[in-house]
């Protein structure tokens, strides 16, 4: 399957995880990894599956690298009805009132343009005991398998 990993980050943790996921999936799939700051609202390709990795910053806001993308999607309102995506969040439960609001905002934004979310929105907690990749690798494997049925294995 053709996969694009898109990351939204403030201090680089999401970028590192996105690269780790890329390395993990690369053996079996054709995988690109791109900062959301380099992704245009109109750049989506229905033949690809999108894996988003996004943190939260400030008071429940999107991280800096995701903000221009979010603004562009809001302004341009691209038709994403043929797009399938899955999303993984990086957050910190110390910020309990706004835990993982960034990825939530991003998922809702894409869904509002018609995109379909595959699988659950999983969250890593920086104050928790797990390593992000230990949660993200099984998640990626599961959503990619699910997407393969929807998009087609050899798309």
């Amino acid at each position: 399957m053709k996969i694009t990993i898109l990351y939204g980050t403030e201090t680089g943790n999401a970028e590192m995880l996105a690269e780790d996921i890329q390395a993990e999936l690369e053996g079996d799939h054709e995988v690109d990894c791109l900062n959301l700051s380099d992704m245009g609202a109109g750049d989506f390709d229905p033949s690809r599956f999108y894996l988003l990795v996004c943190s939260t910053y400030g008071d429940g806001e999107l991280p800096a690298s995701a903000q221009p993308f979010a603004e562009a999607v809001e302004a341009e309102k691209p038709d994403l009805s043929a797009i399938k995506f899955a999303i993984f969040g990086l957050g910190d439960s110390e910020y309990d009132e706004t835990f993982n609001f960034g990825p939530k905002t991003l998922a809702e934004l894409l869904q509002a343009q018609g995109a379909t979310q595959v699988g659950e929105r999983i969250a890593h907690d920086a104050s928790g005991p797990d390593m992000a990749e230990d949660l993200a690798f099984p998640w990626a494997e599961a959503v990619v398998a699910e997407a393969a049925e929807l998009i087609g294995e050899d798309a």
């Binding site: 201090t11 680089g12 943790n13 590192m16 910053y57 400030g58 008071d59 910190d92 920086a126 104050s127």
Partner: protein, 411 residues
């Protein structure tokens, strides 16, 4: 083709993000991070609060620089002592100063040097077991915090916390005991600006609403038409009346320091307000009003003569980034952006000279602690952490060096 050789002085977030960016763009580079401490990561280890472990998570990225990207750590080496700037410039194609700013800015008013006045840097270093810290002082029952940035709020929060609120942190036994027994009854925090323009982030204020042993008063928070300012004021006002325990916390705004009063030690602080002068009695003053250079490196001279200070170019082949370049402003993300921009600039200007010896000038220094030395310290700190702590930091340089080296011998 010869690989370029780059020495970065300071293994804090700025130096680490710079090394990360450089090696991502040009993996063949020889990148060396030099730090005066036997341990890396600068203020991520010694500034970011002990009860904000999530923020310290960036250290995992920094570990990758050494473990996978090929950078080398040369700890326990102070530029200006074990090695000179000239020696580095002779040995490397490029040298970057990312040494931060460690000294507390002084309170330059009458009485500003009275006993009982303590800088936030000195206090936080002592709280977080920095090897060069001075012992934690006696604050008396009524400390007064001067400053309204995030560092001031960190101090306030730690002083206000109950012992059980520090679970999961890496606060050591000395600091924990000091916080428990310091007898603080009332903390006043004063800012020069109105609340609307206070430098602290709104989330830092919201976090205070979780404190379990305080009674908070907010005086003179004012109002604002601006949405972001209004949000900040609202967060501050939401704390007013928060009453979960006996320790009093008072927020005051628009107070410009005039003088610290007292004969042998601090007894009060006098301020200018819009309504005239006001004197607040206190038993100690904690200043959180910024940082400056410690004088080990000629920062002012270097910056004054810089070829392009905005871009971090001091002279051909000599660069600066992070707090050392910009001054004591900006959080970790800003250092990342700064470092990424500088990496691009350095790579554009780099002309590798095959005759430059590079890291061999450091490898023979007796003082040197390498990355594996740090991993032994790190592993020991994590392994010896008590149940309610995530790490037991080693505070003494000798003990760090012993751990880094002794096991080296037994290998």
């Amino acid at each position: 083709m010869t690989a370029g050789k780059i020495a970065i002085v300071g293994a804090g977030p700025s130096g680490c993000f710079l090394a990360q960016s450089l090696l991502k763009a040009a993996p063949e580079l020889e990148v060396d991070l030099i730090d005066r401490l036997p341990v890396p990561y600068g203020l991520v280890r010694y500034g970011v609060a002990a009860d904000h472990q999530g923020t310290k998570g960036v250290a995992r990225q920094f570990a990758r620089i050494f473990e996978r990207q090929g950078a080398q750590f040369h700890g326990n080496i102070t530029l200006g002592q074990e090695v000179t700037l000239e020696a580095l410039q002779t040995a490397y194609d490029a040298v970057v100063l990312a040494a931060g700013l460690m000294q507390d800015r002084a309170l330059e008013i009458p009485g500003g040097d009275l006993p009982g006045i303590h800088g936030a840097g000195a206090i936080t270093r002592a709280l977080y077991d920095h090897p060069d810290a001075t012992p934690l002082p006696d604050l008396g029952p009524r400390p007064l915090i001067v400053g309204n940035g995030n560092v001031a709020i960190d101090l306030l929060r730690l002083l206000a916390k109950q012992p059980e609120e520090l679970e999961g942190s890496d606060l050591g036994p000395v600091a924990t005991g000091w916080l428990r027994q310091n007898g603080v009854e009332e903390i006043t925090i004063t800012g020069r600006s109105p609340a609307a323009q206070a430098k602290f982030d709104t989330v830092m204020i919201k976090e205070l609403s979780k404190l379990s042993g305080v009674t908070i008063h907010v005086e003179g928070a004012g109002s604002s038409e601006d949405a972001a300012e209004a949000k900040k004021i609202e967060a501050v006002l939401a704390l007013h009346g928060h009453a979960t325990g006996p320790r009093r916390v008072t927020f005051r705004f628009g107070l410009t320091p005039l003088a610290v009063e007292g004969d042998e030690r601090v007894t009060a602080m006098r301020f200018q307000t819009t309504a005239g002068e006001e004197t607040l009695p206190c038993t100690s003053v904690l200043t959180a009003i910024g940082f400056c250079a410690d004088g080990v490196l000629p920062r002012d001279t270097l910056l004054a003569g810089a070829q392009d200070a905005e871009a971090g170019v001091l002279a051909p082949g000599l660069y600066a980034t992070g707090w050392f370049r910009r001054g004591p402003r900006g959080t970790i993300p800003e250092n990342r952006a700064d470092a990424q921009a500088l990496a691009t600039r350095i790579l554009a200007e780099l002309t590798p000279d095959p005759d430059k010896p590079g890291r061999v000038i450091l490898s023979d220094l007796d003082a040197r602690v390498d990355y594996s030395g740090w991993t032994r310290i790190d592993a020991h700190e994590i392994a010896t952490a008590p149940d309610d702590r995530c790490r037991a930091k080693i505070a003494s340089r000798e003990e760090m060096l012993r751990l880094a080296r002794e096991e080296e011998k037994t290998k």
